[in-house]
Symmetry: C2
Subunit: 211 residues, 2 copies
DNA sequence: AGATGATGTTGACACCGTTCAGATGCACGC
DNA sequence: GCGTGCATCTGAACGGTGTCAACATCATCT
């Protein structure tokens, strides 16, 4: 029995702990940062003993991967939404780039966790490259912006380049070194667009240009 | 006394522990990865008690920052060297990009540590932006490749864009999703050059192009 | 009803970062 | 030359962590 004495106080075993643990982890991640995200703290937050998670995840790592998985879903969704609501197909790329960076800035701990676990496995979660996911959305936006959909190799390279560039920008965009430039440009938004403009043009240049 | 029994075996107090600790940390980092990099393990490796480091670094974090600092120096050096030995000024950018990614691939744990500590402080170490450092080298390479040295704002944006792109590529380039494309292109090197080619052209496009 | 298996708890182990009181030995004033 | 001061190192301790084995509890199937 815990704080709620009236409703149903701590059912038989728990219900579904897996989900509760992942949610607890995300709550801790956003409220107190990655440094406070211990398995014991998650168990505590979910109102359960420190060993309980081991019946649902073989590892702390496995729990974190589940949390990261949710993050990738959210990011994919943000990308899809950005392309859908872009002013014109030609501007979809910039729209996606902005949405991507905004996601990273609004969920910094989660974003970092996503790439930490990905790098450990040397792979993004599989569903990111399937249909209707973030990756294919970028590909579509590139085509909409003028890329040749028949040259698969160049299209893939451009997609990868775009993704890498957005990732790098997302991770570095609030480094202190950039502050003077940001202020000179009148704010973060202008700065982001400025850098993204380079990314936006590069893809087309790379696809259309010589060689 | 440690492995070297003849020279001077464990001097008075130690000699200079700071340096020894940083070197021990780097050894552990490369041999066993970041997960094994505990303060106690570093002290153990340096042949000293677990509390000894606290007379030289106020924190584990401070030690790690010292290690990362050395990494930034090495990276800067690699960049300078890459530009110096480039076949032609116009190819300096691609040369730098390759050197950057190679550095990250050859020192993965160190590279990751460098950005982890940087993100925690939301800043790169200050000396990376000074003269004769990596950042200014990229800027020079951009100018050599045709960028307008008088438009400072665009030049800065291009430099940042290049850096972000290289960083993203360095972190993601051995994700498993890219393996088929790599094989189709005949190896990692070709793949890297393929993506870098997009980066290389983008900067110029961004600098010369409309808007 | 009784066995079974999934799920939760308790207690333990080794390790971690950090602190503090005390030992150690170099450097310097007399 | 020698004692004193001070930076440095050690040892033991505290609370926290990930993980595991042994035990408890409950849902369900026969």
């Amino acid at each position: 029995m815990r704080e709620s004495g009236n409703a149903q106080a701590k059912p038989y075993h728990h219900g579904d702990l897996s989900r509760a643990l992942v949610e607890a982890a995300r709550r801790i991640l956003e409220a107190e940062g990655a440094v406070a995200l211990s398995l014991r703290a998650v168990a505590r937050e979910a109102g359960v003993s420190p060993a309980a998670p081991y019946h649902h995840f073989k590892d702390k790592t496995e729990l974190l991967e589940a949390v990261a998985h949710g993050g990738w879903d959210a990011l994919s969704h943000a990308i899809i939404e950005a392309r859908r609501t872009a002013a014109s197909p030609g501007e979809a790329l910039e729209s996606i780039g902005l949405a991507y960076v905004h996601f990273a800035l609004q969920n910094p701990a989660l974003y970092r966790l996503m790439y930490d676990t990905s790098r450990d496995r040397m792979a993004m979660p599989a569903h990111i490259k399937e249909e209707e996911s973030g990756y294919s959305e970028v590909q579509c936006a590139l085509v909409a912006a003028g890329a040749d959909p028949n040259d698969d190799r160049e299209l893939q390279l451009a997609t990868i380049a775009s993704w890498c560039a957005a990732h790098g920008l997302a991770e570095m965009c609030n480094f202190e070194q950039f502050r003077p430039l940001k202020e000179a440009m009148g704010g973060d938004e202008a700065f982001l667009r400025g850098v993204l403009r380079h990314f936006g043009t590069f893809s087309l240049a790379g696809l259309h240009g010589k060689r």
